[in-house]
Symmetry: C2
Subunit: 154 residues, 2 copies
Amino acid sequence: MKTHEQMLEVAIQQAKIGLSEGGVPIGAALFDKNGNLLGAGHNRRVQNDDPATHAETDAFRNAGRQTDYRETILVTTLSPCWYCCGLIRQFKIGTVIIGENETFGVGEDSLRELGVKVIVMHNQECKALLGGFIEKHPEIWNEDIGEVCSSCEA
Amino acid sequence: MKTHEQMLEVAIQQAKIGLSEGGVPIGAALFDKNGNLLGAGHNRRVQNDDPATHAETDAFRNAGRQTDYRETILVTTLSPCWYCCGLIRQFKIGTVIIGENETFGVGEDSLRELGVKVIVMHNQECKALLGGFIEKHPEIWNEDIGEVCSSCEA
């Protein structure tokens, strides 16, 4: 069985791939209960012009069609937005491991209330990767979380 | 300005395309505040082997990158699942027009509580399209909403 750190490392590698493609550096991976990788992915807003593909939904897609997610583990470098929390809720993903929740975090409590096991790693590499991107591209970051930022339009 | 019925018709056409491809017949479309079509799409689980693409997320993707969804109108043949409700919440989509909510419906009230304008059309064609598919393929339908159906395994 992989450790939480080892699983998070797979998501971090995805965030780095995203960054190297010029994209928002958020990565994710879905594992089965034994720690076998089902699928990994990253945010594709910039590189694919695809606003619907967050890291979590990319990993979920790349894991292919599954009939039961209740024992799966979703690992993501950033606390999931409401869109990705909705994915977790609808498909009853059992465990979510979060790299960091200081840059962004909205739905962790609601996931816990639904019975999802939520683990926050407070990983500084995750925070530094995304923080550096947001500093350079605040308008892309705001777009990615649906925030209308008047100061970004300047 | 298009009527609700005219906008729903675009989503229904997408559901029919999905059905003709062998897929789950749920369609959706995103319009701007003036009723101009931004993007349309349909569920792609079967035809693309893509569990992450529900009708609403396909329409959202096909609308391309937008910076402000607050006045957009999302039309869908079926009441949105938690995943798609999360999309609506995160990106602050202002209005949701729903073909029918008898086959499935979980999040309409929570959307209303968030200030989303929700309109249900009680359209029988939407219900018949999906109902016919579910009768033939209950296992695919359950997979699409994350329901583990032991009786489907027989």
